[in-house]
């Protein structure tokens, strides 16, 4: 079971989510990619996509400006005002050692987005090249890559995360590495299945019969057509990674305090929410917002990039 599978159902979900409908082996028939401007126009014509972009932009803004926007510094803890319910002074309340929850949600958003983007970046860096190799070369390369995928699916991700954290330390970068290294499987399978389908498409066959070199077909004709589902997968992989971090935090394999992350806040709140509900509600809401934002953007991108709409 992968970390994703074990660490939480949630993470498994993400994996599913990443295998977006467009993988659909079906579907991306058609011509080389349409021009960017038209795709952009189509994207901005969708209300939900724009809303998603606004949400995502807002979160990124909060993350970047957290040191400026937050009411207190990230480390500040005033034990004497611990466990305060939301008030004018502390709009999101304070936690068990007197830290301002709004501050922590802001810095937590920052950490979680970094984890999300970076882990997905690692997953892309491993998964897409392997998927390309498997899909393009086929044969034994494909067989080997797919067996590697099966190895990774069974790979004990928690053990690996624990190895990184205990041997190197509980820094953000190790959590990112642990998540990235165990979640490339989805992107790899997606890329490969895209190419397998595209290989059989009429326009690729046509190019081939015209004598266009195989490498050129791959780069000019196949990759652009495979981009749409990959972009979707990447946007959806970000919340997935955020949840994976939450899962690891719940197991006590998390980022060192006082650096907050949304996942860790939700996990830590489990023991407190019956009284101090706000400790769980606000970070959960922030994760939900991120999930919504990235999902809407992903859906919008898919529709905008789908060549059939040309």
């Amino acid at each position: 079971m992968t970390m994703s599978a074990t660490a939480s159902q949630r993470v498994g979900a993400g994996i599913g989510a990443v295998d977006s409908p467009l993988l659909t082996l079906e579907g991306i028939a058609g011509r080389p990619v349409s021009n960017t401007r038209r795709a952009l126009r189509r994207f901005f014509q969708q209300r939900l996509a724009v809303a998603g972009l606004l949400i995502t932009g807002f979160l990124i803004l909060v993350a970047v400006l957290a040191p400026v926007l937050a009411p207190t510094s990230m480390e500040a803890a005033d034990l004497m005002s611990a466990n305060q319910f939301p008030s004018a002074e502390h709009p999101f309340g304070t936690d068990a050692i007197g830290r301002d929850v709004l501050t922590r949600v802001m810095f937590g958003t920052r950490t979680s987005l970094i984890v999300g983007f970076a882990a997905v970046g690692i997953a892309c860096a491993i998964g897409i090249p392997l998927g390309l190799a498997a899909g393009l070369r086929g044969g034994w390369v494909d067989f080997a890559v797919m067996r590697a995928v099966e190895v990774m699916v069974a790979f004990p991700g928690i053990l690996f995360a624990m190895f990184l954290v205990t041997v190197i330390g509980g820094g953000v970068q190790n959590i990112i590495l642990a998540i990235g290294v165990t979640t490339w499987v989805t992107l790899c399978r997606l890329t490969r299945s895209q190419l397998l389908t595209l290989r059989e498409q009429e326009f690729v066959q046509a190019a081939r019969s015209l004598g266009v070199p195989e490498a050129r077909i791959a780069v000019r004709h196949m990759l652009p057509n495979a981009m749409a589902p990959l972009i979707v997968a990447v946007t959806l992989g970000i919340p997935t990674a955020i949840f994976a971090e939450a899962g690891l935090s719940f197991l006590g394999i998390g980022i060192n305090e006082p650096t907050p992350s949304l996942g860790k806040m939700v996990a830590d709140s489990a023991q407190y929410i019956r009284v101090y509900w706000y400790l769980g509600v606000f970070p959960t809401a922030a994760i939900a917002l991120a999930m919504l934002g990235f999902t809407f953007v992903g859906d919008g991108l898919r529709d905008a990039l789908d060549p059939r709409h040309n």
């Binding site: 079971m1 599978a5 949630r10 979900a13 079906e26 069974a154 059989e200 939700v266």
Partner: protein, 306 residues
């Protein structure tokens, strides 16, 4: 096809070797003694005696070789955390609990999700559609350990309808299945909706309609079959996930299932159990992927297996 399947199964054997070797090395690389070191430092003599007792004093490849040899003879070892049983006993005792809850979850969530997704797709942009979209987003966002706690507070502590946890009677299974079902229901609804919409708009469906096929026939055959492909891709791999359980749900509801061993075995450095679970997952996923690929060729004859 037979040759293909045989090749895949041989590949699986290779996968089992690879993953067990990697895991074996990783278990030894992670610091921490597999046996409670307790509060005080153990005398050196005892530490040495312990290493000898479990063969940890041997070179690591010798240890691995011995493990493989034993496994080939059907001996997966004795779990450090429960030495009065074998690893096989422990899995045999606990997996059925997880399987039962998981199977029920699949039986409830998949049909429910399909119906919801269907309703949403057929009434696109109506309030039904929005409700399903909103609900499924919520289902994907709420962490299941939070949902589980609220379910217990509401239905057990508050209303007293169900026990707060444990195992043994049908009443014990209700809340865990609800907690487990939330996510797959949401996912199935979401993907059913999206793939149906895709499929409804696809060229060949439009062609079929143009050719005058009765609407129902279009729906049932072309649409459903096309919608199946993404569904198979996304939801079939969820099944092994569900059937191997989740520590969060099992801990909160005190289910004596297999799911938490994926975590607890790691935390307690229970080497034999970690390895057995890794092998089990590799087999379950290997077979799932194989079945998925075979299903593809059946759903879309254009797809060739290599």
């Amino acid at each position: 096809m037979a040759r293909y399947i045989l090749g895949r199964l041989l590949g699986l054997v290779f996968v089992l070797f690879a993953v067990s070797l990697i895991t074996f090395l990783l278990t030894r690389a992670v610091p921490g003694d597999p046996f409670a070191s307790g509060e005080r430092e153990l005398p050196e003599a005892t530490q040495i005696a312990r290493a000898e007792k479990y063969g940890f004093d041997q070179p690591i490849l010798v240890q691995y070789g011995r493990y493989v040899w034993n496994v080939l003879h059907g001996d997966f070892g004795v779990p450090f955390q429960s030495p009065s049983q074998t690893v096989v006993d422990l899995i045999r005792d606990t997996w059925p609990v997880t399987l039962r809850v998981g199977a029920l979850t699949i039986l409830i969530s998949y049909p429910l999700g399909i119906v919801l997704g269907l309703l949403a797709a057929l009434h696109r942009n109506s309030w039904v559609d929005y409700a399903v979209t909103f609900g499924s987003t919520l289902g994907m966002v709420l962490p299941n350990f939070v949902v589980a706690i609220w379910l217990i507070l509401l239905f057990s502590v508050g209303l007293g309808w169900f026990p707060s946890g444990g195992w043994g009677s049908p009443a014990h299974i209700v809340l865990p299945v609800i907690a487990y079902s939330l996510l797959p229901t949401a996912l199935v609804a979401r993907y059913t909706r999206v793939s149906l919409l895709e499929s409804l708009g696809a060229d060949h469906v439009r062609t079929a309609r143009a050719k005058g096929l009765a609407e129902r026939k279009v729906l049932v055959w072309h649409v459903a079959r096309n919608a199946m492909i993404p569904f198979v891709t996304i939801m079939i791999p969820e099944i092994p996930n569900i059937l191997t359980g989740s520590i969060f749900i099992e801990q909160v509801f005190r289910l004596p299932g297999l799911g938490r061993f994926f975590v607890t075995s790691t935390l307690t450095r229970d080497y034999p159990m970690i390895l057995a679970l890794v092998l089990l997952v590799a087999v379950v996923w290997g077979i799932t992927y194989l079945l998925t690929d075979i299903l593809y060729t059946w759903l879309d004859p254009r797809i060739r297996l290599l």
